[in-house]
Subunit: 343 residues, 2 copies
Amino acid sequence: MTSKKRRVKLEDIARKLNISIATVSRALDENPRVKLSTREKVINAAKTMGYMPNQIAKSLSSGKTNIIGVIIPRYDEPFFIEVCRGIDNYAREHNYKILISSSRNSFEFERENLISFERGLVDGIILSPTHETEMFAHIKNIINKGIPVVLFDNIREEVPGADHVIIEDDKASFEAVEFLIKKGKTRIAFIGGIMEKKVFQNRYKGYIDAMKKYNMPIHDDLILHCKSLDREFEDVEIQSFLKGVSIIPDAIFTCTDNYGLLTMKTLLRMGYNIPDDVAVIGFGDLGLGEVFVPSMTCIAQPSYEMGQKVAELLINQFNESNDVSHRKKVVKLKTQLVLRDST
Amino acid sequence: MTSKKRRVKLEDIARKLNISIATVSRALDENPRVKLSTREKVINAAKTMGYMPNQIAKSLSSGKTNIIGVIIPRYDEPFFIEVCRGIDNYAREHNYKILISSSRNSFEFERENLISFERGLVDGIILSPTHETEMFAHIKNIINKGIPVVLFDNIREEVPGADHVIIEDDKASFEAVEFLIKKGKTRIAFIGGIMEKKVFQNRYKGYIDAMKKYNMPIHDDLILHCKSLDREFEDVEIQSFLKGVSIIPDAIFTCTDNYGLLTMKTLLRMGYNIPDDVAVIGFGDLGLGEVFVPSMTCIAQPSYEMGQKVAELLINQFNESNDVSHRKKVVKLKTQLVLRDST
DNA sequence: TTAAAAAATGTAAACGTTTGTATTATTATA
DNA sequence: TATAATAATACAAACGTTTACATTTTTTAA
């Protein structure tokens, strides 16, 4: 039990059975070209000797690693985790593993991650660009090298040769705001995120569109574009917004579950009643909205399904001919307004 | 732009510059054995030709993949994500990537994942065993093959040859319950998880120890071992527990943030005042406790640090001599009781 | 019982690196 | 200016597979 236990490899089995490596390899593959009795001998020997194929050698030989690279802007956002869960699930069913890395909301990290994926470790890449990502050269580069790419969530610009999966953000928030208006709310505030993010642009657009359509006055005072990329500062920002607002809103449409929860928290602490004084809507619906008291009305985003879809598109690319020319599918996923006590 | 763009490899550079592959390889390594002028030529050529090293070939040749395999019981638990974030962070700083997979709370999946990691894809493994994991043969097996292993969180049995990182669960919950007692609470309920999980055993132990030490009556009626492994059913279980309880508790010690939040939610809906009627403590402190109204007192677990520690131990193992004999460090991390409005 | 066909196995190149050792080119030394 | 020492480079094996093609063995048919 002390010794240098070398991995057993095909050669060892071959030597033991006095046959060639090729035959061993084929036997373990259940290749009918090798006689049944030999196959059985090999499989037995492999088992008793504790053979485990070397994935790296396999990959080098086959040119496939069966690994999918995933780049998300951050880990501490349930949305991304949920998407990853969806990816993982679909991928595993199709015999792929996923290698996740975070770009930490930084374009530079995103680029680095992408480059590190260029080294042949992954068969394809799933990427959710950061808000800083304005240039797409690094992505196009990867695609030009023939590596399949699927983008999701925050897509500022369609990248030729990649597939895209997005949510109908504008439509979703339009509907949410419309719902508030129809409830009779007239002073509807908006809390969104950095406008560098396409998703926040779209959610803002939906808000504005709905307000305009119903001829509601739009007060700049009632609009906050949260700049923080960090839980703690989001809280600070929202608090000071709510405390400093000149007109008291009777509803607040919020672009994130977390914004929604923070908003409700602050409102409650300030002594407002939800939903009677102020109604609140969140975006995402990743579990917490249901637990809060009062529970939070949310736009439910199909995050898990998004992950599955994204993985499906990528794996389809693997199986397509390498004809890059006519890819670029854009899949839009639908949301749903889930009504709860906060409205 | 149509064509089969083959990856450029060392050979291509070598041919172009009319030198040997070995020299190219060494030049790119900045190996002083190759003349400075040659090095520069090679590096330039590599850049202009768009050379990217092939990670797989490198790994095969070097016997190192620089990938760490991580197995967690589930994705949708902020604790595990936070640990992964810690691992990822430390790993990246030391030039490792992480490959996460979920055992989905199933021993069988855990085993499968472990086996798939035996195929040489990862240099070492970080594992948090599921509650179903009673046998450790599969882990010992891996260790016997010389693959470094670090275990964390839910460790039922110390595995020789592996490092362990745990939290002082019993101590933490003892302190929390003691705190409640000193606050004058007398009917302290306990809500924990499946007793197959060591962490829940320990947290229960801490509760019992504290109650005994202060001669508090222990009512079985006030104790719930939640069996669900699923958010939705946790809610159902806790609700029916709270609604069916014969004595109204004046405090509830809870073994999870989520249990705590669900408890608070149900109590509030039932019309109780927190903390005046009932105080509540959660375990974990992964962000939500702060947002809830009232905010939740929690035992703060150093999850991120746990991840870092675990990664550190693994990477240390990589650098040690392969002398398996005297490994098996057990690192215990401290918790902290964070006081908020729910107590 | 032998030639042809089919089945089983073997040989060797390939995947893209790294690296120990051998070889060649350059410089220093006498 | 020949030679020893050193610097620079090249050769080839190794990492553990897969697989096209070659070879050997077995079976079939005449």
